[in-house]
Amino acid sequence: MSRPLVGGLESPDLASHDTPAHEREPHVPVFMGAVRQELDEIVARYPSKMAALLPALWIVQRERGWVSEDSMAEVAVALALTPAYVKGVVTFYTMYHQHPVTKYFIQVCTTSPCGICGAEDVVKALLRHTRAGELGVPSPDDRFTVIEVECLGACGFATPIMINDEFIESVTAQSVPEILARLA
């Protein structure tokens, strides 16, 4: 469920759909073989295992596209933490997806410096051209989701957007169709 249900500042992040444990498919461990080795090398960079938590979660998201509760439990075991602790960290940061996302996850900066340079128009154009229509809701063909995010650190190149890991500068409402056309 999204937090909170009513009142409070709405988060631009997606509503999370908690799937009950008994309905989930059995978890295939992420940290095996080469991926496990990668984690071990990362752990060696820090004097504490806990410090490898953010990097470990990034690995999970890279491998699976999102961070499931089962993955959180797996990371907890690997780093000698509790699942509740890992979840507390995951929910603090905005970039870890807590449920599967569409093939293209589009983040648009709308903080004031971009806001006064037409960011809202970019958002509207994206919602229209992806046919998603609404923020945070997958498009009918299930390929696109558009959300607003806070300052992406490229204010002089308004409006920057991210499509998955790709950072695209200077997007305008006019350039949106062409950007989307490039995507498979």
Binding site: L9, M95, P113, A158, F167
Partner: protein
């Protein structure tokens, strides 16, 4: 240079000289541009001497606080038997600021070299560069640069043959502006929620993993190699106004400006000329209405204040604001100040870590009130409430995010009150300059 625009003759490109040059990003290209001579020189010097040069130069923290860098370094004395750490704050998330991104994606080796010199000077064998997760491009370039440096023996167990160990690791953030606060950065590095810590203890005494730590901004560290090569006097000499503000500063100019980009000018440069001449003034000759000169956390300036400002730490304070991160947000006559401020308040409310009562509840409440005013549902009492809330949110919390949220609201009401009142009184957006409703 006003990257991505061609360099303006009135700029002093030192940090930004090679922005836009793909070659500068490689080790080979960087060496060809004089890179790593400073590190080599530093590794042959006494640690205390390096710290003194930096102190002497007058370099101050370029992330926003402006704390004298050399003095900060001197707090972490080598030889106490504990492992020391250097953290490079590359979490750049202050709205309006995008200079560190340019440094990392155009001159990553400058940052590596700066970190290495700083780490050596402070007896730190390990440096963590904390880069925000959204900076996918800088992450790639920093990773490559670090790998090249290791391969070339510049970093590692025997840095440049000096016998000293210098390790640099990149640590990727995951979406939290608050992790740019130095103690929250340390928490995040340790694998925790990015909650700022109470000080004391200070990082130089007890930082990451409980060990002495220094945290410096990207731009601060990138400035170090040149200071080492050209000397403190050279850096100190670049000061047009107040001798306490020396060297050059990267300004990220954005918003309703003709040539947005990253500019580098000497401390004390006249702000009015900077905006109208160097950066090209308004878009399509629209009149400028307001400027936020140092990122969203500094007070909004009227154009009168901005045009009277000399661009250094003291100069901005004298004209009702602060230098901050140097993120210059230009706002023209077509914008509603209330809209701008509402969105800034929402930014802070999203980014609040939620520890302190005033910030957790106050940032969200402020947002709701300003948005109501923006949407024509405000009352005059709301203005009094906002100012009272701002008072409660200032100087009462663990970190200054709470204060930062109050700043645009207070300076906005103070300097652009008529726009708030117009919306409250039911008029549409009221253009202050043309006085047309």
């Amino acid at each position: 240079m006003g990257y991505p625009h061609p360099s303006h003759p009135r700029e002093t490109p030192i940090l930004s000289r090679h922005f836009g040059e793909p070659e500068a990003r490689t080790l080979h290209g960087w060496r060809g541009r004089g890179g790593y001579q400073a590190l080599e020189k530093a590794l042959g010097m006494a640690q205390g001497d390096i710290v003194n040069i930096v102190k002497d130069s007058g370099l101050r923290g370029r992330g926003g606080a402006g704390f004298p860098t050399g003095m900060k370094w001197s707090f972490m004395k080598p030889g106490d038997g504990k492992p020391h750490y250097l953290c490079c704050n590359a979490d750049e998330s202050e709205p309006g600021t995008f200079k560190d991104r340019e440094i990392m994606r155009w001159t990553p080796h400058a940052l590596v070299e700066g970190c290495a010199i700083a780490a050596y000077a402070m007896g730190a064998e390990t440096t963590y560069i904390y880069i925000r997760g959204e900076f996918t491009e800088p992450l790639v370039w920093m990773d490559r640069a670090i790998r090249e440096a290791y391969d070339a023996g510049i970093l590692g167990a025997n840095a440049m043959g000096s016998g000293k160990r210098l390790d640099v690791h990149v640590h990727k953030g995951a979406g939290a502006y608050i992790c740019g606060e130095e103690t929250a950065l340390m928490e995040s590095l340790e694998g925790k929620r990015g909650n700022p810590r109470i000080k004391p203890p200070f990082p130089a005494v007890s930082g990451v993993f409980g060990m002495p730590t220094t945290i410096n901004n990207v731009e601060t560290l990138a400035a170090v190699p040149a200071i080492l090569m050209q000397g403190a006097e050279w850096y100190k000499g670049m000061s047009l106004s107040n001798p306490k503000s020396t060297g050059t500063k990267l300004y990220s100019v954005c918003g309703n400006i003709k040539r947005p980009g990253t500019y580098e000018v000497v401390m004390g440069f006249p702000f009015g000329e900077f905006l109208h001449d160097v950066c090209g003034g308004g878009v399509e000759r629209r009149k400028l209405k307001a400027v936020i000169p140092g990122g969203a956390s500094v007070p909004i300036q009227t154009m009168a204040e901005a045009e009277a400002t000399l661009m250094d730490y003291e100069g901005f304070v004298a004209q009702g604001s602060m230098l901050g991160s140097g993120g210059v947000i230009v706002i023209d006559e077509n914008q509603s100040m209330v809209r701008v401020i509402a969105r800034l308040a929402r930014f802070f409310a999203h980014e609040s870590c939620g520890q302190c009562t005033q910030c957790r509840e106050g940032t969200a409440w402020m947002t709701k009130i300003v948005e109501r005013i923006r949407d024509g549902q405000g009352t005059m009492e709301d203005l009094d409430t906002l100012l009272d809330m701002a008072d409660n949110m200032t100087g009462t919390t663990i970190c200054v995010l709470s204060d930062s949220c109050a700043v645009p609201v207070v300076s906005g009401i103070k300097k652009f009150r008529s726009e708030f009142e117009a919306l409250i009184q039911g008029k549409r957006f009221y253009n202050v300059l043309t006085q047309v409703a």
